[in-house]
Subunit: 384 residues, 2 copies
Amino acid sequence: MARVDLGPMNGISSATVTSVTAELLGQGLISELPPETIRSGGRGRPKTLIQLNPDAAFVICVKVSINEIQIVVGDFTGQIRHSMHHPLTTLTLTLDELCAVLEEKIEAIRADVCHTFQHLAGICLAVQGVVSPNSGLIIWSPALGFRNAPISERLATAFGCPVLLENDANCIARALTSHPEYAAYPNLIVIMLGYGIGMSVLIDGKPFLGTNGSAAEFGHTKYEPGGALCACGRRGCIEAYASDYALYREARAMLTLPPGDSAHPSDAQMQALNQLAIAGDPVASQIYSKAGRALGYGIANVLALFNPDLVLITGSGVRGFEAMRPSMEEAIDEALVEELIGPSRLIASPWDRDMTFLGGIAMTLHATDLQTLASCSSCGSGDS
Amino acid sequence: MARVDLGPMNGISSATVTSVTAELLGQGLISELPPETIRSGGRGRPKTLIQLNPDAAFVICVKVSINEIQIVVGDFTGQIRHSMHHPLTTLTLTLDELCAVLEEKIEAIRADVCHTFQHLAGICLAVQGVVSPNSGLIIWSPALGFRNAPISERLATAFGCPVLLENDANCIARALTSHPEYAAYPNLIVIMLGYGIGMSVLIDGKPFLGTNGSAAEFGHTKYEPGGALCACGRRGCIEAYASDYALYREARAMLTLPPGDSAHPSDAQMQALNQLAIAGDPVASQIYSKAGRALGYGIANVLALFNPDLVLITGSGVRGFEAMRPSMEEAIDEALVEELIGPSRLIASPWDRDMTFLGGIAMTLHATDLQTLASCSSCGSGDS
């Protein structure tokens, strides 16, 4: 973007633009594009375009899910630059063991990319389950055996940078809802289908967290009392019908699926199952139809309680959603009178890549104090 | 309160207090108490206390519920000064007929009290069901046969004053939560047991309405798919188990209750039934126990989705709540793991009088522009 366009857009004078951009250039937070790339039409002198300097800072975003830790590096423009994947048995880890693993993996990736980037802006820890962003506690995660664990402060101390703890669904909602097409929907619900079932609620465009961060636990609202057994240990939760593990549990005795871990379906297994259901295999169709019915009853409760503008359904499980949709829509109509369905629209959003990281990086950069970035020592480590 | 105490409390200088109170006295919005009532300890000269002038303005608050219209007059201090009660068959009224009845009754009461008060500050219309405060529409009410009816503007035109349309549950929540004891609970849910089941959700202390005002429709969230028939026409709603009409429907074939309307239980009938259940009558106890279980499952969903600080249970039906409580608590524990129940407290708040009016009057006064009040013509009618 050219300096002359920044003034009107931000409501500041051209003199202010000149002085602010000079300061940001000096700090290395922005850079100028070579002038020959932007000459247009050949008239007048070319405008010099400026851009965020991708290498000004980086974010390390860590996703903890069942039996897997993924770590990515995001640059100052929010793009993913590196990605790593560590399978390990998460459920038996103690908090100390998890912290040790995370510290080792984060330090390794930090050392790797340290010379590319000027500063470490922060670390984002995206965790499946109930977390408290304010107090930095993992309250309860299906991936972990311990509870109420203070984790943000330990990592912040170890790496001398801010640590943002977030529910994975809130990260995905952030990535999705930053698209201009969703700006018109301030009351927005994002439902994530996958190994578990997550939800993020935006009220007036802001994530609604509840009192201690455990709001929007849609997966554990009920379809029917005494119903199917859920990973949480209770019965009848929506997740116990419509999550990957629930679909796989019903299917694996009756259908031929690719080999894999008996407790946790692999992506290949879920893809095979989704395709059977969408192709109309009678057994798979029946399983997905039941899942859709449970999902529909769950969504009906959400519509009655939140009266949102829009419900977005996404997550890796959305690849099988078309096989759930007819029974889900039928269930919503069966559950609610028209006036309570109201103006809420329901849209499935395709899942071409895991948006947890894009959202986590954006949230971390958004929370970053530029002043701190500009003044902190190279490569972000407190002692480097 | 004395002028000298108003400055520090509001962070303004004593000169400002003097000039503002002089202006308000001139407008008749406040008045001075006789000095002899406030001499304390005999030292110094007595402070002159000032108070809101109760007769400076009045609010007419109308509650529309099944087969009943109640109208009260509230004064400028928020107190109820007059109250009237009109039984009529509401379900067969057209919008025009309802407006005609309301205009006649409101005009009669306005003419009656016109000489006591200086101004009509506004009219509050509290309606059971789904309303849109912003667009002034009654979207859907169990008391009325029509839907999506624009009503606020008609009354505003007829009486030349602001008209506030509100859900009755939100009025009650406003009255309850203005008590200082609830100020510490910014995320607060109020559940109203009565002929229907209402709910009001406060997020950060503000009523949460959703996109078109139909959020918090707890009564029509589900206990079980295909369950008991609800007044809304669907099955399995919490209201179809725990509302007055649901309890009465189960009880009337098997218990001896005072005579009354066969479709709508009277207050005397509900009181008799509540007392039977609380006294341990086996049939009544079983009915209330089932109701408590449905209520508990419903509240479990609310805890999982809203993660509130506090759930207050009130309404006329709270008089039978002790007979529902044990099964309700059991159901919540059965439905949710401890981490999702979280820090939420659950308290029953006694129902000694209908708080709809106190809340409606407070909301209307709060929305009143003092400047308009001071400058408008006497008695609030546009043409008087």
